[in-house]
Symmetry: C2
Subunit: 221 residues, 2 copies
């Protein structure tokens, strides 16, 4: 049997194989967000997707393939959401939207972070996941940096702020904040998140840490 690309193929073409693929991926990320990576199995995603094991195996040769696809999809979801939110905006407006779509304001984004932590851990074991996480990280970093460049050029943020360094710290802070919100109920409500985002943006505008107070001091730990 020679299975090299033979001319003339005549398969059964489904209405939408791509949609089914995504449906399965979504089911998988749902399982991870709700029950954790340990609960993720070919059988459990089949149940969650309302299909048979066979289908899952049909679209993903491996459990690993499903893992990697889910990770990629989770990262792509954020990018798409930001893209439609940002549109033609730029500078500080774009920056704020990019950050706001990162913070777990909604259950969707909250789930996104739960999945992200899961894959953060998977990256330790799976090189493909590690690389994907890196690419995603640097993608967001560059976008934020570009926003800040435009914002600074437009005078929307303080002139003295060194962008490369500050944008990195900014992203680190966002990651820390979002990660923390996963295990901290207090950080999962809208008000605290709003206050913190306002703090960060306010700081960027002046570049002065003294401006950080921003009507916060309600929170007691």
């Amino acid at each position: 049997m020679d299975s090299t690309t033979k001319e003339g193929a005549f398969p059964r073409v489904s209405d939408s194989t791509q949609e089914r693929r995504e449906h399965i991926i979504q089911a998988a990320t749902g399982v991870i967000a709700r029950e954790g990576l340990a609960a993720l199995s070919v059988r459990s995603v089949a149940t969650a997707a309302g299909c048979s094991r066979g289908l899952v195996e049909h679209y993903f040769r491996n459990k690993n393939a499903l893992l990697v696809a889910s990770n990629d999809w989770a990262n792509a979801t954020y990018l798409k959401r930001v893209q439609t939110a940002v549109g033609k905006k730029s500078g500080l407006q774009a920056l704020e939207l990019r950050l706001r779509n990162l913070i777990p304001y909604t259950d969707t984004i909250y789930d996104e972070w739960k999945v992200r932590v899961a894959f953060w851990h998977q990256g330790v074991t799976l090189p493909l996941v590690e690389e994907a996480n890196n690419r995603s990280f640097y993608g967001v970093y560059h976008a934020i940096l570009e926003d800040m460049r435009q914002a600074q050029a437009a005078g929307e943020i303080a002139a003295g702020i060194p962008l490369r360094v500050t944008s990195e710290l900014l992203l680190m802070t966002m990651i820390g904040l979002c990660m923390s919100s996963i295990n901290d109920t207090k950080l999962r409500r809208k008000a605290p998140l709003d206050r913190r985002l306002a703090m960060i943006l306010g700081f960027l505008k002046t570049g002065d840490a003294a401006a950080l107070e921003v009507g916060d001091p309600e929170t007691e730990y």
Copy 2:
């Protein structure tokens, strides 16, 4: 058989049951750091600890019990290391030591973070782990805040900086940085970490973002 506390017990007293417990816990965290949570099983930690399954089950009734104990131990390890490092120091010195012992400068601390991410994910599923993570988080937060209070009183950091808010952001940034270093080889070397810690501390001293440059601009992404 009445097994209520009968007066007069006469057991076999081992030289050091507590040490064996810790030995097993260390083996477990080693497995998690090296092979991930998925590879953690009663059998795998028994192998790693060089003992029998029975012994592991003897000290931990459940796999969950082992999980929780490992998490607690990982958190306690950082606290102990900081305690001996800080000693009687206070203020900015203490703060710097606390942060330095958080950053993955050594393989030990790097492993600590790998384990931390694992349990961060576990917290989504296991309430006990979530609570432990929270306690740990707020413990570190309060310690840092106290350091900063003393530092500001001593004039070691800028007077205008609002401490409660800034200390939280500082911790978030540290978490983001350390988390990122897990999936980013570049962030795992000493030089980049040094530069970033210097940046952060330098910023605290002046409270001015313009001071952030700190001889960095080597890094290109």
